[in-house]
Structure formats: structure tokens, C-alpha cells
């Protein structure tokens, strides 16, 4: 087992719902409600779920763009929620970088590519201009772009190239962990394959850890070592990626796999093997009691409506479901 780089314990992020002039609190949105996982050095963990599942909120909490309501985030053994800001700036922020879904909204259109990639270096190091220039050149080559393109503006690039620039910027400070929020979902099919291969190559080269936020299980299976499936702020199934995709135990995971892209069964039309869930994900302001998934679960029992299942270890992965007992 490799060294644990990031450990998240019982992370919670609640937002108050307010109304009226006095901003009276009338409820809370439990966007992330008690989530625990860990990422080892050089490995990839994916958080999978539909919109509103809380995966992006969890990622924001890890990037400390949101202050968690409760729980702890241990990075290299230190609890980053309790580090003073000065130490955060040297010990945490440069080591954790992010790549967003849409390269166009994460890059300033009026900055040249060179300045975009150099910005983290200018903020965090005291390098001379020459040093920075040669680092930018090196980074561009690493992500498969021409060094002479450094003088161009973001709009001169295609979507796939834009995402490569975003990856180059994330790599600039030699981080240990990169948070990738839907890194390929805005890209075309053939370009997606290029970016996913690039991410894998960079991981092997630099022993990087990735936290991938995604909704597409097929993408996730290709990229990740372990997978956590989220539903309404909680993790319903968590384990080694291969095992989880081939032997899913939670009914929601099964439905997601069934709904996901090309599988062999797809070709035999809907011969009853396909699980199509009814309904939609309920509002997180007023989540169902007991197991959050029970109103949509094809196999729910009376117990599921009352008692929230605790995650338990089955074989090699954790499942939060009464039916697996």
C-alpha cells in the first residue's frame, strides 16, 4: 500500500437556507453530509454522482475554497483546517492544484498563455523571469503543445488544447495532488481520449495523485484506482475501481452502471436487464428520512425508510445499504 496523501474524515458542509429581511434561518442544505475517503500518493480517487450529489462541494472543501462545517482533512498527516494561513500558503496551497471543467471560463481571455501558466510561479516563487520562461516552455512541451504558442491568447486554441493549457498551469508548481472537476466532459469524444491518456502519462511520470469529479462511470473506470459513489451528500459505495464496476453492490451503483454508456447488454435492446430508475434526486433541503435513496430504490424495504444504513465492508468495498446484509 502506498503512502496516504490525503485523508478526509467525516467531512460535512452545510449551508443555511435563509428567508426574509432578517435572514432568518429556516433550514440547512446538507450538501456534503459525513463523507470519508483517502487518496494514496500516485493514485486516483473518483467521486461519482449526479448533479446535486455534493461532489463538487466536497472538492471545494478540499481546495479550501469552502470552509467545512465539520470533519477533518489531513494532508500529509496535517489537518489543513487547523493550519494558520501563513503555513497553508507554503505547505498546502502550492501542493494542491485544480483543473476545471471548462477551460474557457477558467482562463482569463485577456492574458497570454505564457502569463496564464506563469501566474502560479510568480505568486509562489521568487524565480527570475528567465527561469519562469524556461519552465513555461517545458510545461507546454509536457502537455503536447508547441512552446512558441506561449504568445497566443486562449481563444486561439481548440477545447482539447485549452484543457492542455489548464493542465500545464496545474503542473507548474509540481503539486502532489490535482483536483480535476469533470476534466473531459466538455470535450469531443476523440479529444477526450487524448486528454485522458495525457493525464495517465503525467501521473506515471510525476507520481501525481488525482481527485477526479465525474458523472460518467466509463471515464472513471479508465482513470481511477478507487471510486466513491455519492448520492445526496453521502457516499453509498466506496472501493477499488475495478471491483466496484464489475461487482456493484448498492442498487444506485447498479442503476448508474446500467444507465452508463456502451455496455454489451446495450445491444440486446431493453431485454429487462436494464435498470431504469423512476423519479429524480430529491432536494437536499428536505432529504428523505432513513436511506436517502429509498424512494427510488427498486428493492427498498420498510427498514430503509426509517434507519439510515451505515457503511460496512463487504469483500473489498464499503457499501451503505441494508439489503447487502
Amino acid at each position: 500500500m502506498a503512502e496516504v496523501l490525503l485523508e478526509v474524515q467525516d467531512l460535512k458542509k452545510h449551508y443555511p437556507v435563509t428567508r426574509g429581511l432578517l435572514q432568518k434561518t429556516i433550514g440547512t442544505v446538507k450538501a456534503v453530509d459525513g463523507v470519508s475517503f483517502q487518496i494514496e500518493r500516485g493514485r486516483t480517487l473518483s467521486l461519482v454522482g449526479e448533479s446535486g450529489a455534493g461532489k463538487t462541494t466536497a472538492a471545494k472543501a478540499i481546495l479550501l475554497l469552502e470552509q467545512p462545517t465539520a470533519g477533518s482533512i489531513l494532508f500529509e498527516g496535517k489537518d489543513i483546517c487547523r493550519l494558520p494561513p501563513a503555513r497553508l500558503k507554503t505547505e498546502y496551497r502550492p501542493k494542491v492544484q485544480a483543473v476545471q471543467q471548462n477551460p474557457w471560463s477558467s482562463m482569463n481571455p485577456r492574458m497570454r498563455v505564457r502569463d496564464i501558466i506563469a501566474e502560479p510561479l510568480e505568486v509562489n516563487t521568487r524565480w527570475k523571469k528567465k527561469q519562469i520562461d524556461s519552465r513555461v516552455e517545458e510545461l507546454l512541451q509536457q502537455v503536447g503543445l508547441m512552446p512558441e504558442w506561449a504568445e497566443r491568447y486562449p481563444h486561439e486554441f481548440s477545447g482539447g488544447q485549452g484543457q492542455r493549457i489548464a493542465v500545464a498551469r496545474a503542473l507548474a508548481l509540481n503539486p502532489a495532488l490535482i483536483v480535476l472537476d469533470e476534466p473531459v466532459s466538455a470535450l469531443d469524444v476523440s479529444i477526450r481520449a487524448q486528454i485522458m491518456n495525457l493525464l495517465k502519462d503525467l501521473q506515471d511520470l510525476y507520481n501525481l495523485s488525482y481527485l477526479v469529479i465525474a458523472h460518467d462511470l466509463a471515464t472513471v473506470r479508465f482513470l481511477s484506482h478507487s471510486v466513491a459513489i455519492m448520492y445526496l451528500g453521502r457516499i453509498v459505495e466506496y472501493g477499488e475501481g475495478e471491483e466496484l464496476c464489475t461487482n456493484p453492490l448498492h442498487p444506485y451503483t447498479r442503476a448508474l452502471i446500467s444507465a452508463s454508456a456502451m455496455t454489451a447488454q446495450n445491444m440486446e435492446e431493453d431485454n429487462g436487464a436494464r435498470i431504469i430508475l423512476g423519479g429524480e434526486m430529491p432536494s437536499p433541503v428536505n432529504p428523505p428520512c432513513g436511506c436517502h435513496f429509498h424512494p427510488r430504490c427498486p428493492a427498498a424495504t420498510d427498514r430503509c425508510a426509517v434507519e439510515a444504513p451505515a457503511p460496512k465492508l463487504y469483500g473489498t468495498h464499503y457499501v451503505a445499504c441494508h439489503l447487502c446484509e
Partner: protein
């Protein structure tokens, strides 16, 4: 096969659509031919910029004018050439005989009207129904798309509905006049995985009930596998291969089709590296001579760079545009 005996609803022959810009002529659709039968779904697959959406807009003659123009070809709907119709006659076709669903329901619905009013618009315009009759037609359309308690929902505004429900409302508008042909332009791309599965199953049911012909524009082969009877793969404004769905997955002939299918990550098997196509699609202003795919094709030969390949039949309803096949 049953389907082969079904009547052809739409037949497109040699359609060419270009945009005239300051930089030159953009050949968005460059001589494509296809057909769709009653009760059949044709998948139009390709990457962004290959001309899928422009094909859909050309069928409805909704291109942004004056830049976009249909230069050549025939669009026969039940034998009538849509390109020969006057503007007024064409207006009677839209929404009634051919309707379209767009990708993002939030931009295709009007935020300041209730969904009932928006479904009633085509019902009043195209079918001339008023009052109680129009209301009934609206409720019937909502029922067809399985929107729960339609009598209440029709008073809702789009922002009060979830993404999946909004897209169902768009579907109800499209189906409200019982069209012969439905063009669905990436209708599920903005939806979540489980909601997408619901929507696709729903559309299969709607098709069984109404026998509508569907052109399903998508870039997702998973959706194709689930929805479509036949597929046409487009590349840089041309159709490169067309075949029944189960055939194209088992035996794709065109190198581009094969590459597209191989570059999609699979859930049912683990791969170490994804196949990726080198380079990028050509600019539609400055197309390479010969086959458009040849600069990226691993099997390109001398002839590919010189002459454009013609259609070759390699199986029942299976056509390929590639020199490899001859």
C-alpha cells in the same frame, strides 16, 4: 425485417449547405444523402463541427440568414420537396410535420410563460384549436411524455421544474401536433445519467405509440446503441458510413467510425490506454483534396489524397465512403 416495409418519411439527396463568411465559404454540409422511415430512429453521429446540427436546421430551413444558404439538393418529405416551398408554406410544416428538440431546455423554453401556454402555442397555430379543445390537447401532450399531474403542471413556469421535467416539456411541445418527423439535437446531453436513461426509454415508448420517425443527433455512441435503428456517421460535412446499429458496432468499415468507437472508454472492460485519433478535423473553409479523413487516417494511400471516395455497399443498408473497400 418489418422496418424495411415501412414507408419512407424523409429522403435527403445531395444536400449542400454553406455559410458565407468574411474568411470564405464554410462548407458545413457538403453533399449528404440519407432517408428515415416511419417508426425508425436514425442516429446522426459525429464530433462538434461536423455538420450534424446544420443538417437538422437545413431540414427545417431555419439557417441563420443571409450567411447560411442551402446550395443544392433535395429534401423530400412524403414526396414533397421542402426546398421548393414558399416561406409561408414552410411555416406550416414546422412544428406540425417536422419538429425539433434542442439540447438545453433552459434556452429553448421561454422563462416568462407557463409551460401550458408554451405547449398551447403550436396547438393553436398549427391545429387551430381554441379554448377547452386546446387545453385538452396540451394535457394529452403532457400525458404522452409522462409528466405527473398535468392539470397542475401546465400552470408552472420553467424555473419551477427540474432539468429532466423541462426537457419532457420540450418533448411535449415537439409532439403536440403529432409530427411525422422529429429531429432531436442532443436532447439528453444536459441531463444526468439516470434521468437520461428515463428520457431515452420514454422516447422509445412515444415512438411506438405515434410511429414518428426520429433523427437523433448525438456524439455519444452509448446513446446510439440504445436508441437508434440505423446510424449515419458524419465527418467534416460528409457522411462517411451508414449502417444498421448492430452492424456498425460489430463491423465498422470506415477507419473513422472504428476510431470513434474505440476511443470511447468502456465500462465492461478495462483498458490501459485509449485509442486516440491524431490531429484535429480539417477547417471547413480549406478542405484537403481527396478523402477528408486522410490526413488523420492510419490507412491512407495515394488515391485517398487525390480523389474523393464514392459510396460502396458492403451489406444490407450498409454504405461506406472509403477507398479501402473497393
Amino acid at each position: 425485417m418489418m422496418q424495411n416495409r415501412a414507408k419512407t418519411v424523409l429522403e435527403v439527396e445531395g444536400l449542400r449547405t454553406s455559410f458565407f463568411t468574411r474568411k470564405g465559404e464554410v462548407k458545413a454540409v457538403d453533399g449528404i444523402s440519407f432517408y428515415v422511415r416511419e417508426g425508425e430512429t436514425l442516429g446522426l453521429v459525429g464530433e462538434s463541427g461536423c455538420g450534424k446540427t446544420v443538417t437538422g436546421l437545413s431540414l427545417l430551413r431555419l439557417l441563420p440568414e443571409p450567411a447560411g444558404r442551402i446550395l443544392d439538393g433535395k429534401i423530400l418529405l412524403d414526396g414533397i420537396d421542402l426546398l421548393a416551398l414558399s416561406k409561408k408554406e414552410m411555416r406550416a410544416v414546422r412544428g406540425k410535420v417536422i419538429s425539433m428538440i434542442l439540447q438545453d431546455p433552459m434556452t429553448s423554453l421561454n422563462p416568462v410563460y407557463t409551460v401550458g401556454e408554451q405547449i398551447a402555442e403550436p396547438v393553436r397555430q398549427q391545429q387551430g384549436l381554441r379554448g377547452e379543445k386546446a387545453r385538452e390537447a396540451v394535457i394529452a401532450a403532457l400525458r404522452l411524455l409522462h409528466i405527473p399531474s398535468p392539470e397542475v403542471r401546465l400552470r408552472d413556469y420553467p424555473f419551477q421544474l427540474s432539468g429532466g421535467m423541462r426537457q419532457r416539456v420540450v418533448g411535449a411541445i415537439a409532439m403536440s401536433c403529432n409530427p411525422r418527423l422529429l429531429i432531436a439535437d442532443e436532447p439528453t446531453t444536459a441531463l444526468d445519467a439516470t434521468i437520461q436513461a428515463q428520457y431515452l426509454a420514454l422516447f422509445k415508448e412515444v415512438q411506438r405509440k405515434t410511429n414518428v420517425a426520429i433523427i437523433f443527433i448525438t456524439h455519444d455512441f452509448g446513446v446510439v446503441a440504445r436508441m437508434c435503428h440505423r446510424v449515419a456517421v458524419m465527418y467534416a460535412g460528409k457522411i462517411v458510413e451508414t449502417a444498421p446499429t448492430e452492424v456498425i458496432f460489430r463491423q465498422p468499415w470506415h477507419p473513422y467510425t472504428a476510431a470513434l468507437i474505440n476511443s470511447v472508454p468502456r465500462l465492461d472492460r478495462k483498458v490501459e490506454r485509449l485509442y486516440s485519433i491524431k490531429g484535429q478535423p480539417p477547417s471547413l473553409i480549406n478542405l484537403p483534396p481527396g478523402c477528408r479523413f486522410c490526413p488523420r487516417c492510419p490507412k491512407a494511400r495515394e488515391i485517398c489524397r487525390e480523389r474523393e471516395p464514392e459510396a460502396r455497399q458492403v451489406g444490407s443498408e450498409h454504405f461506406v465512403f472509403c477507398w479501402q473497400v473497393s
